[in-house]
Amino acid sequence: MTVITPPPAEKKVTAADFESDQEVRWCPGCGDYAILKAVQRTLAEVGARKENTVFVSGIGCSSRFPYYISTYGFHTIHGRAPAVATGLKLAQPDLDVWLVTGDGDGLSIGGNHLLHVLRRNVNMQLMLFNNEIYGLTKGQYSPTSRVGTRSPSTPLGSVDMPLSPTLFALGAGARFVARSVDTQQPHLVTVLKRAHAHHGTSFVEIFQNCVVYNDGVFDEFTDRSVAPDRQLLVEHGKPLVFGKAKNQGLRLKPNELELEVVTIGENGVSVADILVHDERNRALASLLGSLHPPDFPQVLGVLYCNPAPSFEDAVFGQMKAAANVGPKDLDSLMRTGRTWTVGG
């Protein structure tokens, strides 16, 4: 195998260059369309090379994604995309790999692989399309569905506590954890660009509306009428403020590990009291990730980014170091240890 180093992109690429020849077959109105557009835009903006880019996915509506992108793509089996992608990176560490998974694919059947790819920090962008439902198999509840979700398999409502993808990722040791919303194009593109720039596994949870089986489940913070008051878009080094008037903020309760919402200008609260976002602080990311409307805003953006060497770096570092150790060719390898010769 020769890893073909692609020539520098000769002309500026556009989002349209990343459209494949396949007819897109999601339900009309599905949030996946918007994500597709955002990803194609991101690829254009980062100047991605088609031949060097690979989309790997599992199974689910979301996992059909690779068919619609004109790069290399591998639609694998349910839940296993992280493992396939890891193998691919061990064959060709220089490929630019994007992983697409769903809340069922990534957190139900594939939870273990997601856990380990995050722990290992394999260098790739990992997008989890969270629609809090199994779309492709017609609407069963998923590990992120809220308690009480009525679905074909839970006609009286689901009873198990949902997982928080963000808290799971942080618990798994992820070094980059971000969140965005399918239809918030500029924000999503910005987050994806950050994910792409990050070296290591970049975990991005994307709230995605399934119009057929879980329509409007994120409306409480994505609906235009409430979004400004219900979303906190974090930026590193900036105070954690939100609200239409940008006068709401998060404050750490004195001497307690809990956050509270305060209003700047009321009860003597000033901007100085507001916690400043530090994307390298895991504890903060974890606290921010656990906030939910209506009592708190939904926190979006890069919650955590704290780079560490990637798995491939370490693996190929060792490969390099070992390149000249031990028998160099097959003949000498087979002759290590005791041999004896019978005259002929």
Binding site: M1, V3, I4, P6, P7, Q22, K50, E51, N52, V54, V56, I59, P66, Y67, Y72, G73, F74, H75, T76, I77, R80, P82, A83, V84, A85, T86, G87, L88, K89, L90, A91, Q92, D94, L95, N112, H113, L115, H116, V315, Q318, M319, A322, A323, N324, V325, G326, K328, D329, L330, D331, L333, M334, G337, R338, T339, W340, T341, V342, G343, G344
Partner: protein, 618 residues
């Protein structure tokens, strides 16, 4: 039977000998056995060895389940099994005696270390009376030696602690046995000096221990004779001993080189007895081999698929339960037609079964065990050194036909060793792969019209961007297709591709005997040795019987059906409940008969001889 005395100088000639060293896990029996093996190989004998580790990691000292043993079969002619019953047994403690005595031939030599037959050890081993002190061992030639004490004296001049002194008694025993079979000691001395280079005192003490044991044999009047075993006549060349694991791994490396693949990605998850494949490959980074201990077997298989997609040779290894877990992903490899070598080191089943015991009961799983019509080639290994060739062949078939290949070996072969004529790497066959680079006319499921192998189009190649996956694909465009006629065509093509490999493998040869006759004894895998010896013995008795040993289990060699039909009867000994026999019957409608053994242990030659003879005579 009482043991006759004799002068120590007259060596009794023997053609074949089986010895087992047995002791507590801490007694160094594996090392003792390996050194005896090395000296025996250097003496020019053919040989075969098998280590028998306890199932427990570290059982309490002195218990029966903590006994570790090493068996060697060597001789002046061809040796193909680790041997049936023992000519000599070395029992370093009562537990070792208890566990192993049943395998010693009547009249066989039994060496016991008196010093270890303490009341405490006897109790631990479950002896009520000391067997050395009653009549229990009267049918053997027993050498009751206080090895512990004799050895202590031999090493007392060295600056050793008591523990270290006791530990060296295995070398004393080794020395005695080397004397008994007229073996040299040079290689062992060399090895000891190298091993303990940083602790010369220990090195010297061990050498002294060995020499003392040797000298004891030469001077003491033992109740057992000494023997000579003439060298076997073997082909000229440079030899070494190899375990099945080593030889398999080197075969894979050789295969990757023959295919001109600079990168191999081996992804595995530890499991007994397969882990050593991972361990051995992990030490070969200089050959461009990346090893990856995945989180489970599914991930391992998937990573191998991902690597193959990326243009590397994908390898994964496991044993029965782990292969079961890989099943779904193997289907993906079949569907995406990517080259992955899947090694199954079989062990006793079902379920967790008997992890440390050998068996060949995963043949059904290999040939049939997938959802859908999902054919793939299945190869098997017959002997430790055969693993090399089969390893290479698996790589050849996987890359030439763009398919996962299942390679069946087993726990016995993984650990057994035998001498091997080291091949000249530069003379090995070459079968370089071609990666597609030409965008013109490219389709992801384009096939080589001869092999039906799919193109290997690797990410990173400009102009070949495409999408693959586990959903059925259009024969021409490679796009997803739910079309009925297309599914039929793709199903037929996948089957034809694998069936076509039959034209690219050697015709089935007869391993021993004529290509027609009264009975063919047909085997596969590690039963090669015992079947071979059994058939040879029966032929020597005048029976009209031949041996056929099948390496290619899917597809079978083209001539296999005709060959089988040339025999009146076909008997299929297997270490399972009758799996190959059923595949052969289905394929060729020959009334093949089963001969099963499912005990976690290899066939003995003698039991095969009896079983085959009784069928020949009925």
């Amino acid at each position: 039977m009482s043991a006759p005395t004799q002068t120590p100088t007259a060596r009794v000639p023997r053609d074949f000998v089986v010895i087992r060293f047995a002791g507590d896990s801490g007694d160094g029996m594996q090392i003792t056995g390996s050194e005896f093996m090395a000296e025996t190989a250097l003496a020019g004998n053919d040989l075969s060895t098998f280590p028998d580790y306890p199932a427990e990691i570290r059982a309490p000292a002195g218990t029966t389940f903590g006994v570790s043993a090493f068996q060697i079969h060597f001789g002046a002619g061809e040796v193909m099994t680790a041997g049936d019953d023992l000519d000599a047994l070395i029992a370093m403690n009562p537990a070792a005696l208890k566990v192993n005595l049943k395998d010693l031939k009547p009249g066989g030599v039994l060496v016991c270390d008196l010093g270890a037959f303490t009341a405490r050890n006897l109790t631990k081993a479950g002896y009520v009376e000391n067997p050395l002190e009653n009549n229990a061992l009267s049918e053997y030639r027993v050498l009751k030696l206080d090895v512990t004490k004799l050895n202590a004296e031999a090493v007392k001049g060295f600056d050793l602690g008591t523990k270290e002194a006791v530990r060296s008694r295995n070398m004393w025993t080794l020395g005695l046995m080397l004397w008994m079979y007229g073996r040299d000691r040079h290689a062992t001395v060399e090895w000891l000096l190298k091993k303990f280079a940083k602790k010369p005192e220990i090195a010297k003490a061990n050498v002294a221990a060995m020499n003392a044991g040797h000298a004891f044999g030469e001077t003491a009047e033992l109740a057992a004779p000494s023997y000579s075993v003439a060298p076997a006549s073997v082909a000229p060349g440079t030899y070494r001993t190899v375990t099945g694991t080593e030889s398999l791994v080197w075969g894979l490396v050789a295969g990757a080189q023959a295919a001109a693949l600079p990168r191999v990605v081996m992804a595995s998850y530890p499991i007994t007895p397969s882990s050593p494949v991972l361990h051995t490959l992990a030490g070969l980074k200089q050959f461009g081999i990346v090893t990856f201990q995945a989180e489970d077997e599914i991930a391992a298989m998937c990573a191998a698929i991902g690597a193959a997609y990326g243009g590397a040779l994908g390898i994964t290894s496991s044993s029965g339960p782990g292969i079961a877990l890989k099943t779904e992903a193997i289907g993906l490899a079949v569907m995406t037609e990517l080259p992955v070598v899947i090694i199954n080191n079989q062990r006793g089943g079902p379920s967790t079964g008997l992890p440390t015991k050998t068996e060949q009961s995963d043949l059904y799983q290999a040939v049939y065990g997938r959802n859908g019509d999902t054919p793939l080639p299945v190869l098997s290994t017959a002997t430790p050194s055969d693993c090399f060739e089969v390893g290479m062949e698996a790589v050849r078939i996987a890359t030439k036909y763009m398919t996962p290949v299942l390679l069946l070996t087993d726990g016995y072969l993984a650990n057994a060793s035998e001498p091997w004529l080291i091949p000249d790497a530069t003379r090995l066959p070459k079968f370089p792969v071609t990666f597609r680079t030409e965008p013109e006319g490219f389709q992801p499921y384009l096939r080589d019209p001869k092999t039906l192998g799919r193109v290997w189009a690797v990410p990173g190649t400009p102009g070949l961007e495409h999408r693959i996956g586990g959903i059925e694909k259009d024969y021409d465009t490679g796009h997803i297709s739910y079309d009925d006629a297309n599914h039929q065509k793709m199903t037929d093509t996948r089957a034809a591709k694998i069936d076509g490999i039959a034209n690219d493998i050697p015709l089935q040869a007869v391993a021993l005997g004529d290509d027609h006759g009264k009975m063919a004894v047909v085997g596969w895998g590690s039963t090669y040795g015992p079947i071979h010896q059994a058939v040879r013995a029966l032929r020597a008795e005048g029976h009209n019987v031949s041996q056929i040993h099948i390496r290619y289990l899917k597809p079978f060699p083209r001539n296999l059906g005709d060959l089988l039909r040339r025999f009146d009867r076909v008997l299929v000994p297997e270490m399972n409940n009758g799996q190959l026999v059923s595949v052969l019957r289905a394929e060729y409608l020959v009334p093949a008969e089963k001969l099963s053994k499912v005990t976690g242990k290899p066939f003995k030659i003698a039991e095969l001889v009896t079983a085959i003879r009784s069928r020949l005579e009925k």
